[in-house]
């Protein structure tokens, strides 16, 4: 087990270097000069452009820029933004906690509501509960997330005035509840469907029949035997989803004006802030890698037949 974890952690190093390098190169081949872009429509000042490029190290050859960047990264220095010359670390440490809160709330929502719905539907397959859940999840999956977001905003915010249409303070958990609901909606549908299928399938398996024959209480059968064995696909999904929720909330964050990672990533791309993009992606890659490691370890907990060496 310990060796397995160590091996996985070591594997992260090449993945980490590979992704940063790839992103770094990709951002650099995008057309458009971020320094020139500071002047917008108006003609730039060549002396000032040269000065800014020199300050940010953008006048060096590409490989040297990358080495510089990596060197800084290992010392915890993400560099400075091109526009405004602010430390990128500040931008990242401001955005991540916001996205983290949003993601954790959405994720908990998916987990609790999704699994509950899935279990009920799976146990009562073909009955009204099951049909309702199936139709509901189908609906959620087929409606694009921005539609859900805008509808929530329109009704809860503008029509009924339950909430302010946008988040006034991104650090306030209470205000993030509605965006988190929207964000978790699609995931919830998938979790419910995965759980349902898995439960329905396992319900007719031998070990459940045995448990029922033994006369075990129904509650115990469902939670200890049925659910535990049915959770593996769900856990896989939930594990990778945490990363998606953190970095992929661009649309939801945009609608509700949440200043999280998605938003930062989007504006940085529009402004060609290469260093910021690489910085965010670096952290996201780490989140993904750790989450998938955790998922793999959880398999063994859920199903003792799985062992790691």
């Amino acid at each position: 087990m310990g060796r397995y974890v160590a091996r996985r952690l070591l594997q992260m190093i090449p993945v980490f270097i590979g992704t940063t390098l790839l992103i770094f190169l990709m951002v650099n081949v995008l057309p458009g000069d971020p320094v020139r872009a500071l002047w917008g429509d108006k003609p730039p000042d060549p002396a000032q452009v040269a000065q800014i490029k020199h300050d940010r190290g953008l006048d060096l050859p590409l490989w040297e820029q990358y080495l510089h960047y990596m060197k800084g990264l290992f010392q915890g220095d993400f560099g400075n933004t091109i526009a405004g010359n602010r430390p990128i670390l500040d931008e990242i440490t401001q955005a991540f906690p916001v996205s983290m809160r949003l993601a954790v709330m959405a994720w908990t929502f998916e987990l609790v509501v999704g699994i509950t719905l899935g279990v009920f539907a799976g146990i009562r397959r073909g009955r009204i509960v099951d049909n309702t859940v199936t139709i509901f999840t189908l609906l959620v999956i087929s409606v694009p997330i921005f539609v859900v977001g805008l509808l929530f905003q329109l009704y809860m915010g503008n029509e009924w005035q339950w909430i302010t249409p946008t988040v006034q303070d991104s650090e306030d958990m209470g205000q993030l509840v509605v965006p988190a609901l929207v964000l978790g909606m699609v995931g919830l549908a998938y979790v419910a469907r995965l759980t349902r299928t898995s439960i329905a399938e396992n319900r007719s398996s031998d070990y459940i029949r045995t448990a029922v024959a033994k006369g075990l209480p129904r509650k115990r059968i469902v939670t200890r035997h049925l659910l535990r064995n049915s959770l593996i696909p769900v856990v896989t999904y939930l594990g990778t989803d945490i990363g998606t929720l953190m970095g992929g909330a661009v649309i939801t964050e945009g609608i509700f004006n949440v200043t999280g990672v998605g938003n930062l990533l989007f504006t940085s791309l529009a402004r060609r802030e290469g260093a910021v993009i690489v910085g965010i992606v670096t952290v996201l890659v780490l989140v993904y890698l750790l989450a998938s490691l955790l998922v793999d370890l959880l398999y063994a907990v859920l199903d003792p037949r799985i062992r790691y060496a």
Binding site: G32, D41, Q48, G84, Q94, N257
Partner: protein, 540 residues
């Protein structure tokens, strides 16, 4: 071109709409109708790109904050005439070369330091030095000695521009390389604001917490959340705030701000998002605002291409006449733009309607004849380059339809991913056929739309246009004795453009906005900036 203000490129991005309207008081459902002089106005803004230094601020988000915190020497009124603010007078010598600035005495910065001639001269010298990285520094380029402080390449060779001289506490002179009759207009722009001496010693600190001499005093800046300023009791200017302060709220998209505006969570915003242009008048009723905004949209042939190099001007005139501006303004833009009739936008000094005359009027028959007489469009095909990250596709398609239908010339849009990529192609002179262009006033003087854009070889001339006659007229206008004379001469220069057609004028922009139930008296000036000191807040 001589300077480059800029900015509201963020704003022009969004874009715009139509006629001036009066905006009556709000229909105050919730409020008592009484005005609270201490009430705070909230304004939908975004995170400024740079630290809050006047000489380093170009884009709209930073500009509006700087304008609240600082007051410059001069400003302008709705007709584009100069008004004196911190300056008592700004007077040129006979050749318009040496300008004497006299300050109103007794003005102070928010920290108590008196505003003197030195506050201006030192700030400008500091900002001109490339080592201090101030984006607007090229605005000083008309001043003698600028090239020493700010060489094309390398470090500064001098610390101060020799053209700036402090005469006494409240007087200084600006000596220019050559006479410019309308130089006072340039002094409106932010790099010509004063700075307190401490700001030059610790620019970083003051960039985060600026100290100015304007109607509002800086209170706090929570990055990406809000910037708060409060009305300053020691203010000596005419535009004393009628409210207690402003909360500049940071929004990441105009759509989010719009939703907050609808439910009174923010009091006003600079630009209604395009997706709401069709609805906003319904949503806000008499709280909707439409005001003239001095910006012009054109499509310009790239004169460096084979297609347009030796073109007969009749072809371009023909293309221009084939476009039904009125109809497109009404349909594609929901009436939020006005058909253009010249190369100078409305609301600036020297604006004259119909400079383009018949060539900007829709006349498909004549258009066809003109193109035929001019020898036709080479290749019988044009493309219009635009940036796809802003909503240009609709009108480009409409313009192309007109050209195709009325002239039989194949016309297609040439989308480029985003604004950055689009500018790069234009800067490098790699446009294939025609490109879309927009210009927001730097200062409200017609010369800014003419000499700075279409003079041979000037920076703003991206299409490689050149017309000797026009250049001569510009030179004459620049050597005029007075502002009025210069504006008249620029009118002549504009009239000459009819015969060489550097670009096809399409529409004038307007500012489209609205305000909440909490406030009244919200107006925007011709540069699209809100006049925040005039806004009144209702008692809650």
């Amino acid at each position: 071109m001589r300077g480059a203000k800029s900015a509201k490129w963020v704003a022009i991005a969004g874009v715009v709409a139509l006629t001036a309207t009066a905006c009556g008081g709000g229909d105050d459902k919730k409020s008592s109708g009484k005005v609270d002089p201490k009430g705070i106005v909230s304004y939908a803004n975004g995170e400024p790109q740079n630290a809050l230094q006047p000489s380093n601020t170009m884009e709209a988000y930073g500009s509006v904050v700087i304008d609240a915190l600082f007051t410059g020497l001069v400003h302008y009124d709705k007709q584009g005439n100069i008004t004196y603010e911190n300056a008592e007078s700004v007077t040129p010598d006979k050749a318009n070369k040496v300008w004497t600035v006299k300050l109103k005495p007794g003005w102070k910065f928010h920290n108590g330091e008196p505003v003197t001639a030195k506050s201006y001269v030192d700030a400008w010298n500091w900002a001109a030095d490339p080592a201090n990285g101030q984006q607007n520094s090229s605005w000083y380029r008309d001043i003698v000695g600028y090239d020493k402080v700010h060489p094309e390449k390398g470090k500064a060779k001098a610390k101060a521009m020799s053209g700036l001289k402090v005469v006494d506490e409240n007087t200084f002179t600006i000596t220019l390389n050559s006479g410019i009759p309308y130089y006072a207009y340039k002094l409106v722009y932010k790099p010509f604001f004063p700075l307190p001496s401490a700001a030059l010693k610790d620019p970083k600190k003051y960039g985060e917490a600026p100290v100015g001499n304007g109607p509002y005093k800086f209170k706090s800046w929570q990055h990406k959340k809000s910037i708060q300023v409060t009305a300053w009791s020691g203010y000596k200017g005419k535009d004393k705030p009628k409210n207690g302060g402003i909360n500049f709220k940071a929004y990441t998209t105009p759509n989010a701000a719009y939703q907050d505006l609808r439910s009174d969570n923010v009091d006003t915003m600079p630009l209604i998002p395009d997706s709401e242009l069709a609805n906003y008048k319904n949503d806000f009723g008499d709280r909707a605002i439409t005001e003239d905004f001095s910006a012009l949209n054109t499509i310009n042939p790239a004169f460096y291409t084979k297609q347009w190099k030796d073109i007969d001007v009749k072809v371009i005139q023909g293309l221009s006449m084939a476009i039904d501006r009125e109809t497109i303004a009404k349909t594609t833009f929901y009436g939020t733009r006005k058909a253009a009739s010249g190369w100078v936008a409305r609301g600036v000094k020297g604006y004259k309607a119909d400079a383009c005359g018949e060539y900007c009027k829709f006349d498909p028959k004549k258009a066809k004849q003109f193109v035929k007489d001019g020898g036709g469009v080479p290749g019988n095909k044009i493309s219009i380059q635009y940036n796809a990250d802003q909503p240009h596709k609709g009108w480009v398609t409409a313009v192309c339809n007109d050209i195709q239908k009325n002239l039989g010339v194949k016309c297609v849009g040439d989308p480029v991913t985003d604004f950055q990529a689009d500018t790069e192609i234009r800067d490098q002179k790699k446009v294939k056929s025609i490109y879309r262009s927009g210009w927001v006033l730097d200062y409200p003087f017609n010369g800014n739309f003419l000499g700075d854009l279409y003079g041979t070889g000037v920076d703003g001339n991206k299409g490689g246009f050149s017309d000797k006659k026009f250049d001569e007229l510009v030179k004459k206008a620049d050597n005029a004795k007075t502002i009025e004379e210069s504006a008249d001469l620029y009118n002549q220069a504009e009239a000459e453009l009819k015969n060489s057609f550097p670009g096809i004028p399409l529409w004038y922009n307007t500012t489209n906005s609205a305000y909440s139930n909490n406030v009244k008296n919200v107006e925007f000036d011709q540069a699209g900036d809100p006049i925040l000191s005039e806004v009144e807040v209702f008692e809650k």
